[in-house]
Symmetry: C2
Subunit: 248 residues, 2 copies
């Protein structure tokens, strides 16, 4: 295993940070490395808002579900799928009345994937530089308010946040599904998940017990049932439609 | 700049491959590195179909728009957003008639982002091992047929393909937008894109001219106008609805 793969295999989410600011040059290097990820048809349909202002981080910590580390991390990168910049850039070349398709499911996928690939490259860069990161899906909890606060325009939306900072204590690594559960050969085999998933239930039960001194031991399949049956962020469709996304 | 960042900055899409097969152990290592990417609430909502069968690659090359390298690459990884595996795994813990929310826009985002983060980690791993990669968005051109061919179940969809193999000739690197165009500080500033985008139009014009011996010189903003006004993959919404996605 080479050093890059070894670094990827060492990934863990960091939720406790040294409060010292990150040099602006490092944040720019992290984002520039993110930009080198592949992008569909070179549309580069994403933007990043780097939040370093303490008052703003405090507000965002509340809006994302009172996650203290959103406030205490030195920088919160808010990764946005963004079809707004390219739409404005293209304006001069589009005839009045000509139809544009930023509102299609396809365009939504392109922008969401572009933002995600760039963000993950940035995460790898940050970790190589000694920083720790944590994705913040909670940015979608009160996404309307987050969007107003950060001035996100139409045809753009915050996909997730990412806390970045120097870790100030070691954090544990959560085991993943066995590779057999996710990797299929030449054809998706719905049956092959069963064995590995059962094995993973046991792995996760042991992991949770060890972390909580025996207080928690919910199997992964049960946690998934709880996740699936929770009416989570059901405002997203209306929010996205109002932003001009997913209309057809 | 450290070596990992240097590798990320060296990324280029590879479209011409040495045909020799990739050892299965390498493909497993690439996917396992992908799995270490962050995942929302540990749902791990993605699967990968590794297509190595020559006849299948040939069919997929046709279905993705006659991209020869889909056939000639030794392995095509088809990355699927997958809420099917976890839904089946959770079944035993869900009461009959209890409502589940795999069909929400939120769940669709979770699965699409999960697949993308894993894929980008895998891309970084593959490149560190000397392989080249190329994302294939064309997998969505005739996605219904691709899904049948690979046996993708409901509540799952192929987000993109990824050709993997040893590069057999050097390939050029496409310049990206200046970091100033994508990185905002504390608040999205719609005005700050203008200058950098104009600069990028010039960069891309020079890049295209150099690559095509002067035959092509379309500015990026015009290419974006063409992209926006092309009715691209408008079947996606209906396809996704039929798969059980994006119903609310």
């Amino acid at each position: 295993m080479n050093e890059v793969v070894a670094q990827l295999m060492q990934h863990r989410s960091v939720r406790s940070f040294d409060p010292s600011p990150i040099p602006e040059a490092d944040l720019r290097e992290i984002v520039a490395a993110g930009q080198m990820a592949s992008t569909s048809s070179n549309v580069q349909a994403y933007s990043v808002v780097a939040v370093t202002d303490p008052a703003l981080k405090r507000e965002l910590a509340v809006l994302t579900g009172n996650q203290a580390y959103v406030e205490t991390c030195p920088a919160l990168l808010v990764w946005c799928a963004d079809l707004n910049r390219l739409s404005r850039a293209a304006e001069a070349h589009i005839a009045p009345g000509e139809e544009a398709y930023a509102d299609s499911a396809e365009s939504f996928i392109v922008a969401t994937v572009d933002a995600s690939l760039a963000a993950q490259n940035a995460a790898v860069a940050a970790e190589s530089m000694g920083y720790g990161i944590c994705y913040i899906g909670g940015i979608r909890n009160r996404i309307e308010e987050v969007s107003s606060l950060l001035g996100i325009p139409s045809l753009a939306y915050p996909v997730f946040g990412m806390c970045v900072g120097l870790p100030d204590q070691p954090s544990g690594q959560r085991p993943r599904l066995p590779v057999e559960a996710v990797l299929h050969w030449n054809r998706y085999d719905a049956e092959r998940g069963h064995g590995p998933v059962g094995e993973y239930d046991e792995t996760m039960t042991r992991y949770l017990q060890a972390r909580t001194e025996g207080r928690k031991s919910t199997p992964w399949t049960k946690i998934m049932a709880e996740w699936l049956t929770r009416p989570n962020r059901l405002h997203m469709m209306e929010y996205l439609n109002n932003r001009g996304f997913l209309k057809r």
